[in-house]
């Protein structure tokens, strides 16, 4: 039995530490915190932006808009914030986290009710969801997930929120709500039309919900960004024809 670690092991440890340190954020890296519903479109846009801005590397942090705002407010090193609703961005602006003058709406979306592809029951109106055939309904948590806030607004206006709350399965992001429906763990769910379009063989759109407010996505550079020019360029890039064609491909509307 030797008491000191074998030299091979020590070398391995050093190698791992060295490999880890090379992963540290590079100066020209741009960190974009974006709403979960933007995941696929933004991943397609990143190489286009990098090609147009040589030397800049984009990295994404996807989650529901609420948690993203919380990370920014606690000092996360983010350069650009893209939210799925105006309310979250308004909060960020009020607290001075973003450059208000540079804020842009870049896409719009619509709210739909989806059911599992195998579902026997398909609602034809929001009121149908109060029937006993719908036991569990996935809704984004209104406190932190924009799609949940839109859903709550619509259901409250229809006088159905109370009945729906008892059936509500809260989701941490719109993508989680979509996953619950795709796995048929819930009988229906409220998601964006762009999310529903990603899994056409697993979910079907039962109805498109008319919302009182337009679902507009804003983006803005973060005030404390260490890379303000790149951050500004990224926000502007979202409105170029190149980026627009990607958004259109995923079903987003024009702002």
């Amino acid at each position: 039995m030797t008491l000191s670690p074998p030299p091979k092991l020590a070398r391995l440890v050093l190698l791992v530490i060295a490999a880890g340190s090379s992963l540290c954020v590079h100066a020209a890296d741009l960190t974009v915190s974006a709403a979960a519903s933007l995941t696929n479109a933004f991943k397609d846009i990143a190489p286009l932006f990098e090609a147009a801005n040589p030397g800049t590397k984009v990295q994404f942090n996807f989650a529901a808009s609420g948690p993203l705002l919380q990370q920014i407010s606690k000092g996360a090193p983010v350069d650009v914030f893209a939210s799925a609703d105006q309310e979250t961005m308004d909060q960020a602006q009020m607290k001075g986290f973003v450059q208000a003058a540079r804020r842009r709406n870049f896409v719009s979306n619509s709210l739909v009710v989806v059911v599992p592809a195998s579902a026997a029951n398909v609602p034809s109106s929001l009121r149908d969801l109060t029937q006993a055939a719908y036991q569990r309904i996935a809704i984004g948590l209104p406190a932190s997930v924009p799609v949940g806030r839109y859903t709550q607004g619509v259901l409250e206006a229809e006088g159905l929120w109370g009945a729906m709350q008892a059936k509500m399965i809260g989701a941490q992001s719109v993508r989680q709500a979509l996953d619950y429906v795709a796995r048929a763990e819930v009988d229906a769910g409220f998601v964006y039309s762009t999310d529903a379009a990603l899994l056409p063989d697993k979910v079907k759109v039962a109805l498109t919900v008319t919302t009182t407010k337009a679902l507009l996505y804003p983006a803005a550079p973060i005030a404390a960004s260490s890379n303000p020019e790149s951050a500004q360029r990224f926000v502007d890039f979202l409105l170029t024809p190149q980026a627009t064609s990607v958004f259109v491909k995923y079903g987003f509307g024009r702002p």
């Binding site: 529901a64 609420g66 948690p67 705002l69 919380q70 407010s73 569990r136 948590l141 406190a143 932190s144 509500m168 399965i169 809260g170 989701a171 941490q172 619950y180 796995r183 048929a184 763990e185 819930v186």
Partner: protein, 224 residues
């Protein structure tokens, strides 16, 4: 702050059930490992210890795939009993049980290994049956280690987060345990709620550790 108390009660209920199930499963399997020789014993031992080292999300995914509506166990439950496990507190118990199982099983196995076989043989010579030997000789002698394992498992089950969130969701009053309530409050920027929940959780954890310190020392362990 009602949500905090409901979450606390739910957390204790889930952890209590998980520990009770592991008392039977973990002690049973731990004893079987020591008592009988069978092929691939060490391989089975390693597989059973996996939940201790695997990321909770991997476990959560396995459980989701197995007991989900389309999973083999989930589909069977739905057909036979019309029961859907996902998004119920029972699913949280399943997650907590699997995650904390190795702690009971490993401690029980180690404890049973320290029991002198001669003592068990002496009981058999005196005409005690196998069940009697287990309950009157082996278990009392190993109880010290088993209890330590159970307390560790209870503490682990109290704090379970990843797998639970994946299979039980976060339904206030139904599946929202303390750790998940904290996560949700922080996500939503409700710092007041988060502070209160964190304080409650810390007090509960300290209480469990103090209780463990009082229960486990050898002098209190049952010796016959």
């Amino acid at each position: 702050m009602d949500t905090a108390w409901i979450a606390l009660l739910l957390t204790l209920k889930v952890a209590g059930w998980a520990t009770a199930i592991n008392l039977v499963l973990g002690v049973g399997v731990g004893y079987a490992m020591v008592r009988w020789r069978f092929p691939a014993r060490e391989l089975i031992d390693a597989v059973l210890a996996l939940p201790m080292v695997m990321p909770p999300t991997v476990l959560g995914y396995y459980i989701l795939v197995l007991i989900g509506t389309h999973g083999p166990i989930g589909a069977w439950l739905l057909r036979q009993f019309g029961v859907r496990m996902i998004f119920t507190w029972q699913a949280a118990v399943v997650a907590a049980t699997i995650v904390s199982f190795p702690l009971v099983f490993k401690s029980a196995r180690a404890a049973f290994e320290t029991v002198e076989p001669q003592l068990e043989d002496a009981a058999r010579l005196l005409g005690v049956g196998e069940v009697g030997v287990f309950f009157r000789v082996s278990l009392p002698l190993a109880w010290h280690g088993v209890l330590a394992g159970l307390l560790l498992a209870f503490a682990r089950a109290l704090g379970e987060f990843g797998a639970t969130l994946m299979v039980a969701g976060s339904i206030a009053g139904k599946t929202q345990t303390l750790s998940i309530a904290v996560y949700e409050a922080v996500q939503a920027g409700q710092d007041d709620t988060a502070n209160f929940l964190v304080a409650v959780t810390s007090i509960v954890c300290v209480s469990v550790l103090l209780a463990a310190g009082r229960l486990v020392p050898g002098r209190v362990a049952h010796r016959q």
